[in-house]
């Protein structure tokens, strides 16, 4: 029996939505991307970084769990020469927060991304915890700068310090091949606005929900 496969989205599907998302992140504010394992949060962050660097912006990525894949980012269109990669070797997420605070305060980067999703590749019980003052410090560091500070984590961490919180939910994985899968083709994601200081971003006709497709 052949496995029923869904038709793939046409090339470029979802990219317009990414463009509108890019505009949604406010300057001088802390924003969050949250989502469980294999939901597409890292893909969304990579796509945003790719768009920003390709447009000529300087981007700093503080990679707390040291899981960033530069080759994948380059495949997504990122201009690696405009990317400052801070590797959080040793799993010290508090040091990553401190580094992101310094980079955000500098004001020289258009985007500072802080990846704290260490538990996406580890058991859920090892989810990191942070002092509440961490997020206030980060929010104050980026305030009055032209920088957009994005925190990526598996759950909402920053509380009221975040101006925008996007939740990424997992859609279906797409496998190609019959009668049994021969290739992983991609993944679908839904992005919802959990929290937004006005004005809330919109995704056109679908309101505050974006449907994105990630191709392997």
């Amino acid at each position: 029996m052949a496995i029923a496969t869904e038709p793939l989205p046409p090339p470029g599907w979802g990219l317009e939505s990414i463009a509108s998302l890019l505009e949604a992140f406010p300057r001088g504010q802390l924003s969050e991307i949250v989502g469980p394992r294999s939901a597409g949060g890292s893909s969304l962050l990579t796509a945003l970084l790719a768009r920003a660097t390709a447009a000529g912006d300087l981007v700093a990525l503080v990679d707390g769990p040291d899981t960033f894949d530069p080759a994948g980012a380059a495949a997504a269109g990122a201009e690696l020469r405009s990317l400052c990669w801070v590797r959080g070797r040793g799993g010290r997420l508090d040091a990553a927060c401190h580094a992101a605070e310094l980079l955000a305060r500098c004001g020289g980067f258009a985007w500072v991304a802080l990846d704290l999703a260490a538990d996406l590749t580890s058991p859920a019980r090892t989810a990191p915890t942070f002092a509440p003052a961490t997020w206030i410090r980060l929010q104050r560091a980026v305030r009055d700068t032209p920088t957009r500070l994005i925190v990526h984590a598996s759950r909402h961490l920053a509380g009221s310090a975040a101006a925008l919180v996007l939740a990424v939910e997992r859609g279906p994985a797409r496998w190609m091949g019959s009668p049994r899968p021969r290739r992983l083709d991609g993944l679908g994601s839904r992005v919802r606005v959990l929290r937004a200081r006005p004005p809330a971003p919109t995704a056109g006709e679908s309101g505050t929900e974006w449907k994105l497709a990630w191709r392997l």
Partner: protein, 505 residues
């Protein structure tokens, strides 16, 4: 007025013929008088670059291959050209010149000029000075020839043609050079033959030709050669200054056995070094430090280290942030009795910001921030990622952040948006060991760290391999898998064990 100034000008030339061979002999004095052949390894065929007089007498000439030279005489002694030996010899030549005159110009390898005007009160007349210079260069291990004349060209030609320490009378350059052979100019073969066909043999004959007709026949090269033949060279001396050392050293009266006093001393030294860098309008792209730790016997052991700032800097605060982090991570093993901090200067050119787009951070502000970040995350954990030219998974290296500013070339060119929409892999570093159960050759269950569960879909194996001709060859079969809880991952089997390379997210 100009003629009077020219008449007052006196220049000396220290010339070392066969400089590469002379430098080799200086480094290895036993080669003196031997049939030495210096080879240029950079040129294909290992061609002969220079030969000593004894080798020339054996029929060996520059341009031969090493094999041809050895075929002429098996007794020839071959040595490869060593840049460090030549640099040391050049430095010695400059030091001799500086010891006699404050104004010195470096003319090229084995060629140094010095302003000799007004040195009579110190060293006697010019003939004495010429002999003194020749003796000083010989004492430095170099067989230099000396010429003193009214222009740079005349001094150089006098050094080549003279007896070894030659002095040309003031305003007598043209007359002195007139009987010298044309070959002294070192003309290209074609030009030398052309002038020979015209019947010219000496510099004086070339100098006496009518300038207009010479220009009509040889173009601009004609008057230039004629000026050389007359010893005319109006170019002023371009003074050479010895490279400045940006270094501070502190000997301690007591032995510092904890880091805080060291930090305070290094901060003071960094402030002084950076102030000197600023006074010279340069920055440093390398800082080296050392601490002397006493040992039971002997003068002590030097603990050394260095760091490259993200961008060239002269900010003492940025230097100390990195130095503090470096020393805190690996403190000297023992009490310290002396400290040294050295900076390698580099001139930094200002770049104009593009008119369009986001303003870039100033290198100084960024350097300070990055230095503080290095203090937090450690050196070597920050930079611009560069993909290596290999298919090996996760082949990437970090480059210093000045690449960010090279990327910010002031062309103002902005690229269009990236393609986006690519499924990202979160790489586990190092890949995590996994236990995989297979059924029918396909993975059906995974256990790796906290990830565990049945595999509901899989695709593979995809063979990746490379560098099979090296010891570092690699090979693995990769699988994309989906667990029952929705986790998408990438497994790899290298022939002996399974690993989880990463998780798609």
């Amino acid at each position: 007025m100009e003629a009077r100034v020219a008449a007052l000008r006196r220049l000396g030339c220290l010339l070392v013929p066969g400089f590469a061979a002379a430098a080799a002999v200086r480094a290895e004095p036993a080669l003196a008088g031997q049939p030495l052949v210096v080879l240029d390894e950079a040129r294909p065929g290992r061609l002969v670059l220079e030969v000593a007089a004894a080798a020339r007498a054996l029929g060996i000439a520059p341009g031969m291959t090493e094999a041809a030279a050895l075929a002429r005489s098996g007794g020839a002694i071959c040595r490869e050209r060593v840049a460090a030996h030549e640099a040391a010899a050049q430095s010695a030549l400059l030091e001799v010149a500086l010891a006699h005159s404050p104004r010195v110009e470096e003319g090229g390898p084995g060629e140094v000029y010095l302003d000799t005007a007004g040195l009579g009160a110190l060293f006697g007349d010019e003939a004495t000075l010429a002999r003194r210079l020749a003796a000083a260069t010989a004492a430095a291990g170099l067989p230099a020839r000396v010429g003193i004349a009214g222009s740079r060209v005349a001094a150089c030609l006098a050094a080549r043609w003279g007896a070894g320490a030659e002095r040309v009378p003031p305003e007598g350059d043209a007359a002195y050079l007139a009987p010298a052979p044309l070959a002294l100019l070192g003309l290209p073969v074609e030009m030398a033959r052309r002038l020979e066909r015209w019947g010219l043999r000496t510099l004086g004959e070339l100098a006496a030709l009518p300038a207009r007709e010479l220009f009509e026949r040889l173009g601009a090269e004609g008057p230039r050669l004629q000026a050389l033949a007359r010893g005319e060279d109006p170019r002023p001396l371009l003074p050479w200054r010895p490279p400045r050392r940006f270094e501070e050293t502190r000997e301690l009266d007591w032995a510092a056995d904890n880091l805080e006093p060291l930090f305070a001393l290094f901060a003071e030294m960094a402030g002084r070094v950076c102030a000197r860098l600023e006074a010279e309008a340069v920055a440093a792209d390398l800082f080296e430090w050392s601490c002397r730790v006493p040992v039971a016997r002997g003068p002590g052991r030097e603990v050394r280290g260095s760091f490259v700032p993200p961008v060239p800097t002269r900010e003492a605060g940025a230097v100390m942030a990195v130095l503090r982090a470096t020393l805190a991570a690996a403190p000297p093993a023992g009490a310290v009795t002396a400290l040294t901090l050295r900076a390698q200067p580099v001139r930094v050119l200002a770049a104009q910001e593009p008119f369009e787009g986001e303003p870039r951070p100033s290198p100084r502000a960024l350097a300070e921030t990055i230095a503080r970040v290095i203090g937090v995350v450690g050196a070597g954990n920050l930079g611009v990622p560069v993909l290596l030219d290999t298919h090996r998974p996760d082949a990437v290296r970090l480059e210093p952040l000045d690449a960010l500013f090279r990327a910010a070339a002031p062309s103002g060119e902005r690229r269009g948006p990236g393609e986006g929409g690519v499924l990202a892999l979160r790489r586990l570093r190092p890949p995590r060991p996994a236990q995989v159960r297979l059924v029918g050759g396909r993975p059906v269950h995974l256990r790796s760290g906290g990830l565990m569960g049945p595999i509901v879909a899989s695709a593979g194996p995809w063979r990746v391999s490379g560098e099979w001709w090296l010891e570092s060859r690699w090979s693995a079969d990769e699988w994309d898998v989906e667990l029952a809880d929705g986790t998408l991952g990438r497994l790899a089997h290298d022939g002996s064990a399974w690993v989880l390379e990463g998780v798609y997210d």
